[in-house]
């Protein structure tokens, strides 16, 4: 399969402060790729290099086999980009911005734009200054998708969108992906990445910790459980990261839910909370792995 995005040792320093360090990514044509990491991990820096907004300190990045620093114009013609912070010329109407975007691409996308506005429930007659964050995001989506790009680069696309629109948005992305487009999206919401992406890369403090198929990122399925009214946990399987918290215990559980509920029902609990683990906890797992590797090498 042909590679759509390929970076080698991609590094960016802002002065002395770290942006990203030796990022190696390889994303195949037609993939649905998720890029996850906490805020400030380097997701946007990587994306901004790919789009030619900033230049790398070291390393190379290619899109469709073209160097991003040398063939920017040709590359950008094939990309639809949605920035994480969506700002437009606020004195203009949404429809005018969408038209401007198409004109800058020298394309007539009027019918596709109208269809997207309809599906996302966006009124193109409204002025940008009157739009909420979510509605500005919709303008951004239309601008990124109306020209049917080969590659969609979406930087935290769903933050600020309501659940119904999120669902419609992912439906559109699935359709585009099925039609052959490559989707590259960054997020810090694990569940949406898990649900839609086939491959995932995890970035933290500027470094790629893991890049693999979603099914191999097994620990993503873990639940975080907090129980109150007890201070020690009986022996249970699939439990890790056990921590004492105020009046109870918190741990990560990655086994079967029914087994968990059965075990918990035997305990004198006063309160219980089962949530998605935050990324910190998932990353911790990768850190542990890294350390283990080092230990082995040193031993």
């Amino acid at each position: 399969m042909r590679s759509m995005i390929k970076t080698e040792s991609l590094t960016k320093y802002y002065g002395k402060s770290r942006g990203i360090l030796d990022v190696d990514l390889s994303i195949d044509e037609g993939d649905f790729f998720g890029f996850i990491g906490p805020n400030g991990a380097g997701k946007s820096t990587t994306i901004r290099i790919l789009l030619g907004l900033i230049s790398p300190t070291k390393g190379t990045a290619e899109i469709c086999g073209r160097d991003v620093t040398k063939e920017k114009k040709a590359i950008l013609a094939d990309i639809g980009y949605m920035p994480s912070e969506t700002m437009f010329y606020h004195n203009r109407k949404a429809g005018e911005i969408i038209k401007l975007s198409a004109d800058l691409r020298k394309r007539d996308c009027a019918s596709e734009a109208a269809a997207l506005c309809e599906r996302l429930a966006l009124d193109p007659e409204k002025k940008i200054s009157q739009l909420s964050l979510g509605n500005r995001k919709k303008v951004s989506i239309v601008c990124a998708l109306q020209h049917k790009p080969k590659l969609c680069v979406l930087d935290e696309p769903t933050s600020g969108l309501d659940p119904l629109i999120q669902r419609e948005f992912y439906k559109i992305l699935e359709e585009r992906n099925n039609a052959g487009a490559t989707i590259f999206l960054s997020s810090h919401v694990l569940s949406e990445v898990q649900k839609h992406c086939r491959h995932v890369a995890v970035i933290r403090e500027g470094k790629i910790l893991a890049s693999d198929g979603i099914e191999n990122l097994g620990h993503a399925e873990a639940k975080r459980v907090t129980v109150k009214g007890m201070d020690t946990l009986p022996a249970m399987e699939h439990v890790r990261n056990v921590k004492e918290v105020d009046g109870g215990i918190r741990f990560l559980y990655s086994g079967r839910t029914s087994a968990l509920l059965h075990a918990l029902s035997q305990l004198p609990l006063t309160d219980i909370e089962i949530t998605e683990p935050d990324l910190e906890e998932i990353f911790l797992h990768y850190y542990e792995k890294e350390e283990e590797k080092h230990d082995i090498i040193e031993a």
Partner: protein, 261 residues
């Protein structure tokens, strides 16, 4: 061309306001000339007897009894300074406003080269300055006819040409600065225009500071000199045009490899 059109549209309001204010003030100055002419001997002696103050504004060298002399000085202050402020404000924000307004991520992720962005924004800036000047010239001529004065064509043309070039130069210098900043540089822009203006005043005051006229574009737009010699001082103009080109080159060079904030 799309970006050029977009820029002109985005700058419509400031262009309209500055053009209206400058043209109206110019027109008003021309229209009150017949009134002034009646008291011309008093004005002439007053203006030429204020010592260094007269010298600073070049009023000691020009006869206010002639319409052209009067216009050269008044026009210099309104179109020269007003136009300089307009050009500096539009120039300094031309490139930087995309980063300040966080629209750079939108604009620069379209298939446009940075060079093309700079080129179209520069063209829009120069076009806006041209529009303002055409309106100002048209308004002045119209008002002169209404006031019953017939201005001397050649001197008039030279004055307007000099002011136009001054605005292009200041606009281009500020445009060059704009490529280096990512915040609002409006204060800096006004500062540049004001600094040039005051440098010329200082150059008029003392012989030792005369060489400052090479630096400031107000050196070659001195109304009094143009009226007196029916020409633009080429040595000052040449340096000015070098600065204009330097501003443009800086903009292309810097913006081409700038990391967008």
């Amino acid at each position: 061309m799309i970006l050029l059109r977009h820029e002109l549209r985005q700058g419509r309001m400031p262009l309209l306001v500055w053009t209206a204010v400058i043209s109206l003030m110019l027109g008003a100055c021309v229209l009150i000339y017949p009134e002034m002419k009646g008291q011309i001997s008093e004005i002439n002696s007053m203006f030429s007897n204020m010592g260094s103050f007269s010298a600073a504004f070049g009023m000691d060298q020009v006869n206010f009894g002639e319409f052209t002399g009067y216009f050269g000085i008044e026009c210099g202050n309104i179109l020269g300074l007003g136009g300089a402020f307009f050009a500096s404000l539009m120039g300094i924000s031309a490139l930087a406003k995309e980063e300040k307004g966080q629209t750079a991520e939108f604009l620069l992720t379209h298939p446009l080269s940075r060079r093309q962005v700079v080129l179209e924004k520069l063209a829009a800036l120069f076009l806006q300055i041209l529009i303002l000047n055409i309106a100002a010239v048209g308004g002045s001529i119209l008002c002169a006819l209404i006031a019953g004065e017939s201005p001397e064509g050649e001197i008039f043309a030279l004055l307007f040409l000099a002011y136009f070039l001054l605005q292009l130069e200041i606009g281009a210098i500020c445009f060059g600065i704009s490529a280096f900043i990512s915040k609002s540089g409006l204060g800096m822009g006004l500062g540049v225009a004001a600094l040039f203006y005051f440098l010329n005043l200082i150059a008029n005051l003392t012989e030792e500071a005369r060489s400052l006229k090479y630096i400031t574009p107000f050196g070659y737009t001195e109304g009094a000199d143009i009226v007196k010699s029916t020409g633009i001082e080429i040595k000052y103009l040449a340096v000015g045009m070098v600065l204009l080109v330097a501003g443009v080159v800086c903009a292309f060079h810097r913006y081409g490899k700038k990391d967008m904030a």
